[in-house]
Symmetry: C3
Subunit: 159 residues, 3 copies
């Protein structure tokens, strides 16, 4: 374990509630000076996809179909009781009323705290997502070897 | 890594089967003298909510509605093949017949082994769950900073 | 943290996409000389069950029913957008076209890299799965104490 605490979060699920948990842990750790990185893979890529524009994202017909069905960060489903997509909005309202940071605020905080949001190369290949489909502030697309190198002395969570 | 092995389990999902896995790992580790804590957040709060009483738990209409829909520890769903809530009962029967500890027995064992069951403050705010809605033997409600402080030299699992 | 990096992956979910992620991390880590083990529990046991033969696997009626409903490695569902089991096939096609290793190729690679695929005793009891229901190359069935002993100086992921 190195002197500086490190936290690697693998954001796999892309569920609204799990994403809130991931960013809460990430920003909380960065606030107490841990060295934090977030790795987005599979459905988690929805969190860092571009939200603007009407052109469907992705390369190839199936990739585009999957991308349309999945939507972006504004349409993450709840892992339970999603009610056809109604619940994340309800929950965001509950977060506002409780003075808890919303997901958008958590993502902004992560950027301000300098937490690198890194995309997983292999799952981008599988899902046909290109670098230009991702948010402009996603600094890196990496492979599993780079991830392991970074994480070898970090706490690692799979969310 | 400290001399005494530490294990932090973040119980997020509140699924019956994942909860059985979490308590099996927790009690197994405590039995060999690891220092174990379990942190309950989001749907995982269902595991440590009061089971008695007819008054709906929670603060505010939406919170109450969510709480009624989620039920408590006796109604955790299976993460798969739940069949409208039939399967956890079937599985408990299979556990009894196999002489494997049931979930209730695992929770009792965790308490006897002195494993602290800790609730996450932020998700309680979001879901409108109050301290008095939780089991009387939940000792603490903590924030993410306290969790990180405890977990900095522990193995951490997100379940 | 020992000199040789160790990685313990608890394969709980048995979802197609999460299983791809687990084997990608496992084979990637083994390729850079980490000491990797994969522990299969609950739905994850589907990944290492025998795929051949028409006799239903499992001990007892309920166990057999669950086993038929779950299918084996060839029938793992996607954790999202499964479309009644259509999607894993589509995704395998997308993986082939992207020259990404398919799940079967990843499992073969894990075996070639000498990664032990270990089964969890307790969940086999609960689900009524016997040693002879598992792939012939599953070397060990272990309990939670053995798992913890191995994992005490490893990175641990719950997938």
């Amino acid at each position: 374990m190195s002197e500086v605490k490190k936290l690697s979060i693998i954001c796999f699920s892309g569920d609204f509630d799990k994403t809130v948990a991931a960013f809460t842990l990430a920003t909380g750790a960065a606030a107490v000076n841990w060295d934090v990185r977030m790795f987005f893979t599979f459905w988690g890529l929805n969190i860092i996809k571009k939200s603007k524009g009407r052109k469907p994202l992705g390369k190839g017909f199936l990739a585009r179909a999957f991308n349309v069905l999945m939507g972006g960060r504004a349409k993450l489903p709840l892992s339970r009781l999603n009610f056809g997509g109604l619940s994340p909005g309800l929950m965001t309202g509950m977060m506002r009323r409780s003075n808890v940071a919303t997901l958008e605020e958590l993502v902004s905080a992560a950027k301000q705290l300098g937490i690198p949001l890194v995309a997983c190369e292999m799952s981008m290949h599988i899902l046909g997502i290109r670098k230009e489909d991702l948010d402009d502030n996603v600094p890196e697309v990496i492979g599993v070897a780079t991830f392991l190198k970074y994480s070898e002395d970090a706490q690692v969570l799979f969310i």
